[in-house]
Amino acid sequence: MNRINPIYALALLLVIILMLVYKLDSSKNELKDNILTYEATQKVAVKLSALKDTYANKTKTKKALKSILNNALLKSLDTKFKKTSLSISAKSINAKTLNFLMSKIINGSFIISSMKISRISDTNVELKMEIKW
């Protein structure tokens, strides 16, 4: 004969509903946070990947530099490949050579860490340059 007061049963259902609403709210917040974190991570990942590919790809950078320096016009340059950089120097090069070299280097995605161009005559300059990777 012992019966549960139906008001208690309704109260229990109400408590369950409140708990579920709270849980749903937490889940929605978690979902929002996860979406924001996901988008932020993706943004960082894409940017980082692109920048690394441009500036930190040693093989690609070395290959591109060697290809430029192989040009017959640039044979007079002193080049020295180090572990993390390339030094280019020339006591005297003409404007044509300088223009060719600069157009290739400036338009390429290389990290020019230092550069010095000094005029030595009306047609020639002295050059020192360092490219890092």
């Binding site: 004969m1 139906p6 008001i7 996860n34 996901y38 993706q42 960082v44 990942a45």
Partner: protein, 310 residues
């Protein structure tokens, strides 16, 4: 069929003079004064079908009140005993008799339990029960001369019993079932929603983990952001250098004016122009400043020296 055979059997009569006051488990037989009964013949086969008709069958024949209904089949086909009773009235009587609701095993009608009595039986000082036309009825004692005292010792309880709605007088059960159904549906929707949302959150989290392995990222975002900042600085610096370099090369110099030196050192560009007249320095400097370049200048012996911060 015997139910709760170990329980004590009590006859519940609102007009009883003495209080029962029991603390053990009991089965109760209700006095006819606690219910309304009819024997009806209906063109239906099952009690279930009869149950739907009960309120109508008692309509206008019993006083207004909050009734519950019960029925069971008589021995003849299509004949049914139908009952109407007020839960609150029975519960009040039980309370009045000092019987705890928790101690009640089952509740039966006198109709179903006394259907085999042959003589009238006195149930209190003024009333007796006896069977008339298959119905156990309550009559004043003085109407019947031959009467014995009520004895429950030989009663074997039938399977016909009722369950009282303890709160029926407080709340409308139909409305409660409606509200409960709506709440249950709402709970179901919420559970599905919580599950779906959690699954989505987990999926997003998994996708994020996949990004780490796809792009070969460091284990923490702190490290990755630090590396990104480093490369961002390099990128901005290189872009700026190339932009400034193109602006400087695009300067319109006079024939006497020559760029004698161009030097990049970390974050500074130093440029020296020769053959520059004093009045021409402002042109060169302002041309660069117009492009948003921060320039500091020094001039000596027709030599203009510029320093640009990257």
């Amino acid at each position: 069929m015997i139910f709760n055979s170990n329980n004590k059997l009590l006859f519940l009569d609102p007009n009883a003079d003495t209080s029962l006051h029991v603390e053990e488990k009991v089965n109760i037989i209700l006095s006819p004064s606690l219910y309304w009964v009819k024997k009806v013949t209906l063109p239906v086969r099952s009690v279930r079908e009869v149950s739907k008709l009960l309120p109508t069958l008692f309509e206008d024949t019993i006083p207004d009140g909050s009734y519950s209904y019960s029925a069971y089949k008589a021995t003849v086909d299509n004949e049914f005993y139908i009952f109407a009773y007020e839960d609150k009235k029975i519960l009040d009587t039980i309370t009045k008799q000092n019987i705890s609701i928790a101690n009640i095993g089952s509740i039966h009608f006198a109709q179903s339990e006394f259907n085999s009595i042959t003589n009238a039986m006195k149930i209190n000082e003024t009333q007796s029960v006896y069977i008339k036309d298959d119905i156990v009825v309550l009559v004043p004692c003085c109407w019947i001369e031959e009467k014995g005292h009520l004895s429950l010792d030989n009663i074997t309880l039938s399977k016909h019993k009722i369950t009282l709605k303890q709160f029926g007088h407080i709340v409308d059960y139909k409305s409660l079932y409606g509200i409960a159904s709506v709440m249950l549906i709402f709970i179901l929707i919420l559970v599905v929603e919580v599950y779906t949302t959690s699954s989505k959150a987990q999926d997003i989290s998994d996708k994020r983990d996949a990004i780490f392995s796809k792009y070969n990222l460091k284990s923490t975002m702190f490290e990755n952001k630090a590396i990104l900042n480093k490369y961002n600085k390099i990128h901005k610096n290189q872009i700026k250098f190339r932009k400034y370099f193109s602006y400087i090369l695009a300067l319109k110099l006079k024939n006497s004016e020559k760029m004698t030196s161009f030097q990049l050192n970390k974050k500074t560009i130093a440029i020296t122009f020769s053959g520059v007249l004093k009045n021409r320095t402002s042109y060169i400097v302002s041309a660069l400043k117009k492009k948003g370049i921060k320039v500091s200048e020094s001039y000596k012996n027709n030599m203009l020296h510029l320093e640009i911060e990257l």
